[in-house]
Symmetry: C2
Subunit: 209 residues, 2 copies
């Protein structure tokens, strides 16, 4: 079957809008995060090699390597979200007639719920990184495309906050509270300061226009 | 030639990242706005017809009609951004050897700059509408998919702020200051309150999870 990333934007949007549960917000978050990384790459690509920006050439080369690696990770996460959702639905669909079946089903649901927490948590981490990379692009990139760094920071932040919602949903149903609380602490540390950072980068870009 | 919306997500992201000037932040904004509208539609589609949500059935039907119309508009804006950028590059590329050519070129640039202001302004308007529709989805939609309304509001807000950057860029170069100032006033009125509204919707969704 075609992966979502291989579908047209129009088809993706139509499937997002449909009554099918996937793709949903988790995949949309990964797409936004990947757009953020892609725009940071664009700013790098349009800064590298320009004599006017020779001073930041090495920084931009390093930034491009990071943003392209991040774009690849986030593109893979579009599918990861669908896969873990399918696994969760499969676990909920296990038979629950006999007592033994109930136990097996419950254990399987709990295992997949942990996975369904880690997937958006990893997405949130990648998106927080996308915000940081967009900041460097905004600080050092070609002024002619600096607005693209501004779009990159907004896309990364929206993706981060979106991924966070998917962490909250799944931790709520996890019985291993130690695991759940630990993941929520990790999430809070990822989210911390991202709102202020995003505002600062946006203002910086606006002043440079 | 294939429109961007007909390209795969992976191809779109690769082109976004490339050293080509288009697609850029303007198209990325329209894609995020369209994702927002699509997710609001998804919440509607998964609320409509459920006996538990019979009370909001008519509201959800009306919301779906609006969000689907908005999704169509925003999908068309992915291309509009590229088209107006191409027109602007064509205008800047006009010959400027003779005095008469200089005048023609300058007039043409100014005409297209106005168009290049109106295109992202219309996108910003549509994205502000996407935020408002996501709010209704968050207030009345099926609790089982309420996180998707949260992603919708974040995507719509990021798209709105991104489109605004493209308005700022182009108004700066417009000589008809009355036109430019009027468009900036319109933009401020579109942006007004969107940050607070987005935060409120996000908090509402988080509390409902």
């Amino acid at each position: 079957m075609n992966q979502i990333k291989d579908k047209s934007i129009d088809t993706f949007l139509t499937e997002l809008a449909s009554r099918q549960a996937t793709p949903g917000g988790g995949s949309a978050a990964a797409v936004m995060g990947a757009q953020s990384a892609a725009l940071t790459s664009m700013v790098c690509n349009l800064t590298i090699g320009k004599p006017k920006y020779a001073e930041v050439e090495a920084d931009m080369q390093a930034l491009l390597a990071q943003s392209e690696s991040l774009r690849e990770q986030l593109t893979a996460m579009i599918k990861a979200d669908v896969d873990v959702f399918d696994s969760l639905m499969a676990a909920y669909g296990l038979p629950k007639d006999a007592e033994e079946q109930k136990t097996t089903r419950s254990t399987q649901i709990q295992t997949v719920l942990k996975e369904a927490t880690i997937v958006p948590l990893n997405c949130a981490k990648a998106c927080a990184e996308a915000v940081k990379l967009a900041k460097i692009a905004a600080e050092k990139g070609n002024l002619g495309v600096i607005s693209d760094a501004g779009v990159a920071v907004m896309a990364g932040y929206a993706a981060l906050k979106s991924a966070a919602l998917n962490v909250y949903i799944n931790t709520g149903s996890i019985k291993d509270r130690e695991f759940a609380e630990q993941k929520l602490i990790e999430l809070e540390s990822i989210l911390k300061g991202a709102d202020v950072e995003t505002d600062e980068v946006y203002q910086l870009v606006k002043e440079k226009l």
